[in-house]
């Protein structure tokens, strides 16, 4: 019915002003950097063992 459809539309509409997707992407990039740094250093360590 009318109000139900309107409600569903509101649910599906992403909240642009409040999205934190960019933040999640950025911190995951930071996490990837940390992981890469570890892999590199661990690799150097193991190559010298």
């Amino acid at each position: 019915m009318e109000s139900k459809r309107a409600n569903r539309e509101v649910e599906h509409q992403p909240d642009h002003d409040r999205s934190e997707k960019g933040t999640l992407f950025s911190v995951l990039m930071v996490g990837a950097f940390i992981a890469l740094t570890f892999v590199m250093m661990f690799g150097i360590y193991m190559s010298r063992v």
């Binding site: 960019g22 933040t23 930071v30 950097f33 570890f38 661990f42 360590y45």
Partner: protein, 559 residues
């Protein structure tokens, strides 16, 4: 004894008319000294870089190691302490309605103590009687006056810490049940760490003084190292917390946004205070006399500190994204472009945050137990801390100076000085990037830190380090330019910029923020938890080092 009404009036006056002259004088004095220390420390740093590259030869009366001792002392003790205290005292004055007269008195006594200590430290260094570096590891022994000077400086810092505690306690009494204004909350955390964190090194120095005088015969080398690092590790996180205070409280205001969740901000501060001191052994991972289990426990505690940093990374991006989207930014990262890149008060702290990504990542990995063997005491570590303190902390401090100095000097930041600040920030970034990258690389190749120019007997390995050290020297030269520009900007803003009122930029919390629960204000409990962790981390190994100690060592002078 002032009435509440009078204090309320003072609060209002404070906000309307800016900082009062007496509080301003205190912060101005500290800032002045901080940037003189930057200038001197910078010149010394350049000297070191040029010497290591084989470009400059030092005269007989000034060795590389004296220069290094002074460089370390001026930048990581004097500059950081004076900036931190000057900045937070201005913050306490602004957010807590002006400093109490007795707090000002304590702060000036603290100043006097530090000024007495300063020549006691510096003169022996200049006369080559304290060429022990800022870590002064026994059984190398400097002139006893060097250590006495250090005691005066620490006492001076303690006086400022006690002054801050008195100021905060007075506010809490007059505002029962309320949350401490956030900048004062950060200040409390920093001063708590400054006091408790320095108890270990103070104990160490108090045992060194009679030994250096010859009144006691021997010293316990491992206990000394351990007490030193219980302090020196905490020190770096003190700087980090100071920089973070500006990131959380000031920068959102500069970009026209709101600050991140108040409760999470306070939680990060509390977490940093509690977990800070017990990580000290990651500076001693390859020492003998400490068991694998205890070392690993300290590694665990050191890595725990990464968690509040990760929360901080999230908070920063979130604040930028929210503001950027408000300004029309769209897409996954379009909001990023909406930031005020041409405003040095944003640009400098932003680059500071960015530098903490490799700085923090390197820090995590180099303290993960045996991985430390790859880099300990090599130039990698020097690259690491030039990123963290030299860029993250320093660029944040620089960024702060462009509004703090005008605020305390009743002057304004002009577009010209702002532009100069942007140029300085870029020069600094390029210089640090060149230096830090070359240092990390040459460290992996085995080049040691704290070592003057040498070919190690025409070693081919040592020769392979040369190109990186040349790049290091180039980076260092750029940094010298940055130091001069920054010092110029500071002294200009302090004495020459047009008069006017500069706002102290404090961001508001997000709208519809939920009420922060009161447990955050229970500093007694926070300090108690901190002390428990310190005991857990240090009692067993320290007792072991004392009870199972080898014969102690007499003073040695090897320079």
């Amino acid at each position: 004894m002032e009435t509440t009404k009078l204090q309320l009036l003072k609060d209002k006056a404070n906000r309307a008319m800016g900082i009062n002259r007496q509080d301003a004088l205190f912060s101005k004095t500290y800032m002045f000294i901080a940037f003189v220390a930057l200038l001197l420390g910078g010149i010394l740093g350049l000297t070191q870089g040029l010497e290591k590259a084989g470009i400059l030869t030092l005269p007989d009366w000034l060795t590389y190691y004296q220069v290094l001792t002074a460089h370390g002392f001026l930048l990581v003790i004097v500059l950081t302490a004076f900036f931190t205290i000057g900045y937070f005292y201005a913050g306490l004055s602004h957010t807590l309605g002006g400093l109490l007269p007795k707090v000002r008195k304590m702060a000036w006594i603290g100043f006097a103590l530090k000024i007495i200590g300063f020549p006691l430290v510096v003169v022996p260094v200049l006369s080559n009687d304290a060429t022990v570096l800022y870590t002064f590891y026994p059984p190398m022994a400097a002139s006893p006056w060097f250590y006495i000077g250090l005691v005066f400086i620490v006492l001076g810092v303690w006086m400022c810490a006690f002054g801050a505690f008195v100021q905060v306690a007075s506010w809490r009494k007059r505002n029962k049940g309320q949350h401490l204004p956030i900048l004062a909350f950060f200040a409390t955390g920093v001063f708590v760490l400054l006091f408790f964190g320095s108890l270990g090194v103070t104990t160490e120095v108090l045992t060194i003084i009679p030994w250096a005088f010859g009144w006691t015969d021997t010293i316990n080398v491992m206990v000394s190292r351990t007490l030193f690092w219980s302090f020196a590790h905490t020190l770096v996180n003190i700087w980090y917390l100071t920089a973070a205070s500006a990131w959380y409280v000031i920068v959102p205001k500069v970009i026209g946004g709101r600050r991140f969740s108040d409760v999470l901000t306070r939680f990060v501060i509390i977490a940093l205070v509690i977990t800070n001191i017990p990580g000290g052994f990651h500076h001693q991972i390859i020492d003998p006399g400490i068991t694998q289990a205890i070392k690993f426990m300290h590694v665990f505690m050191s890595l725990v500190i990464a968690v509040p940093s990760m929360m901080t990374a999230y908070a920063m991006f979130s604040v930028f994204e929210r503001r950027g989207r408000e300004l029309g930014g769209r897409g996954l990262v379009g909001w990023f472009k909406k930031m005020p890149w041409g405003d040095v008060r944003f640009l400098a702290p932003f680059i500071a945050m960015a530098a903490f990504i490799p700085g923090g990542a390197g820090g995590i990995v180099q303290s993960t137990n045996q991985l430390n063997q790859v880099v300990h005491n090599t130039m990698w570590v020097v690259g690491h801390f030039h990123l963290t303190v030299g860029t993250t902390v320093m660029l944040t401090f620089f960024g702060i100076s462009y509004w703090l100095i005008p605020y305390i000097s009743k002057r304004v930041l002009t577009p010209k000085i702002n532009k100069l600040g942007v140029i300085t920030t870029i020069v600094w970034t390029v210089g640090m990037a060149l230096m830090s990258i070359s240092m990390h690389t040459v460290g992996l190749l085995g080049a040691p830190r704290r070592t003057s120019y040498t070919t190690y007997g025409d070693s081919a390995t040592a020769a392979s380090w040369d190109p990186y050290i040349i790049i290091l020297a180039i980076g260092g030269t750029l940094l010298m330019v940055g130091v001069i520009l920054q010092a110029y900007a500071v002294f200009h803003l302090m004495f020459r910029a047009p008069k006017g009122e500069t706002e102290f930029p404090i961001a508001e919390v997000e709208e519809n923020a939920s009420e922060t629960p009161y447990w955050t204000e229970r500093w007694g409990r926070t300090i108690f938890l901190m002390l428990i962790l310190i005991v857990m981390a240090y009692v067993v190994p320290l007792v072991d080092m004392i009870v199972n100690a080898p014969p102690g060592s007499p003073p040695f002078r090897t320079w």
